[in-house]
Point group: C2
Chain length 359, copies 2
Amino acid sequence: MPDIVETGSGGIDFENWICPMPLRDSPTIVMGHGGGGAMSGELIEHLFLPAFGAAAQAELGDSAIVTVGGVRLAFSTDSFVVKPLTFPGGSIGDLAVNGTVNDLAMAGARPLVLSTAFILEEGTALVRIAEVAAAMGTAALSAGVALVTGDTKVVDAGHGDGVFINTAGIGVLDPGVDIRPELARPGDVVLVSGEIGLHGVAVLSCREGLEFGTTVCSDTAPLHGLVAAMLATGATVHTMRDPTRGGLAASLNEIARAAGVGIALDESTIPIPAGVRDACGLLGLDPLYVANEGKLVAFVPAEDADRVLAAMRAHPLGVRAEIIGRCVAEHPGMVTAHTALGGTRVVDLPAGEQLPRIC
Amino acid sequence: MPDIVETGSGGIDFENWICPMPLRDSPTIVMGHGGGGAMSGELIEHLFLPAFGAAAQAELGDSAIVTVGGVRLAFSTDSFVVKPLTFPGGSIGDLAVNGTVNDLAMAGARPLVLSTAFILEEGTALVRIAEVAAAMGTAALSAGVALVTGDTKVVDAGHGDGVFINTAGIGVLDPGVDIRPELARPGDVVLVSGEIGLHGVAVLSCREGLEFGTTVCSDTAPLHGLVAAMLATGATVHTMRDPTRGGLAASLNEIARAAGVGIALDESTIPIPAGVRDACGLLGLDPLYVANEGKLVAFVPAEDADRVLAAMRAHPLGVRAEIIGRCVAEHPGMVTAHTALGGTRVVDLPAGEQLPRIC
């Protein structure tokens, strides 16, 4: 058969494959590999990037910038496996739209179009899928993005979990916009757009049937409007990130490592709502590690911080924005927090995820 | 909490939701909904499109054309759930790259970049994932596309099936290129680029442990080079499609319906290799319904057919190309085949898929 293209192993001997350190301690996938923390990073660095070889461009980050015909595009993808499918404040459908919109927005791009791909488990009620799809439609309209192409696969019962969704998105970058983790620099002020920990606690409370006095609702929301308001001030924004899996701690550690800077937080300034604080206290969780789906952290030069903060607070999604710390030259790659008791603690990159399948 | 955006049901009353006809007979997902045939089409038409509402642009086809800053982009996505992960001639990694490359190529686009998103099942051996990822790297290099952004999620054991992959891709359309199912017209000649049925039979034989004398290998391959060779002739190409799930029958029926034309095949001219013929005979399958992963059908005006055929045969992936039929004004929306016995049969759109989880 002359029309078969040889495909192969890229020269890797899988018969005698030795799992690279540090993955060797865990020769199989564990939940932590999907947590967005250190273990996810190791999987990318030690498995995916070497296996992809020269085909992998850049670092396979949350979004890529691709220039086509002189137009700079942002391109991003996320799969969603949250359990349960609906939770206070939203559903997997909202996350699937807002999550990819936000990955594009964090690069400073205006999101334009999304693809939608479903992996459905045999036996799932059609009404559940209609509910999820309607939430996607509403979220897409609200975010001003079009759903333009899609795919549906079905797996046999017991080999999926109701509904998994992948969205990929394309956004466009206006000339001059350059917002990347690598650009954070000592002296930058660190801002957060609002109260943290809502999404993770909302999903957890729903999943475990826990009650924490008040119902905590997910903060799932599209952030590109807030970003546009920040950029419209004319201020310089070096870096933005939406702290989803692994929470604020994971995002800030990633930025500290990418930029080779230290980050010093003032813990008392981080807005943590009472419901999140109560739930975390009860369960022994740290709110800095709990997922958000409608918040961003931004790194801006000190001289621009006040007007960016004012612009954030004037936007419905940034009303509770705060300055929570600074970028420093000391302890590069490390995040510290000045605690209410007057001490300083290290805010480590989480290994896995305290709450699996949060998005 | 002022920073929560209301997300909702788009006005649909899910408590009293009635499954729309014709889905009402099956209020849950069945394997056929993922088969790429009539049931997949019903799910899109009667569930996804109404639920997405105004957010859905066009028909959510295999790829969308998006114009950004004057540049025409093709955008496509596919999830891959093939079982088993490797089979004669390839693996899920090859399919994940070539499948999306081919969806872009069928719109006449030059594929540029892919995203890669993994849903991994807890307990899956890392070596299996490395093997799949290495196949993706090799396939991407061979197709000349870059893997630029990615995502990894993990689901608990028993809620996935080893490795599911989604790829989305961006390609660019050269000025003047306009290739769509709607453009097929009576008088067009229908060409196929080579022998059909190889991928489906390869996966099936491997899955069921069947032997058919010779090993049938998947034809997984990137088709954009073949497309470029066809377009380089200067010929007009109205429509192209890669006949994956549902085989030649599904692709041709989709085109017949989209363009409102009839398609008349001459069955004796369709290249079917002996291994596929034997396997189909043994299992009672029709080769026209078996999936391909490295073939295309093209609709070209009669006066251009010979030079397109010559260009296809001069390309390694089109050596066995043939003219297999014509587009006719009669029986619009319907595909017929003139059989070896001198009769004519209707080649229906398949309901589901004779071989589930083929890609």
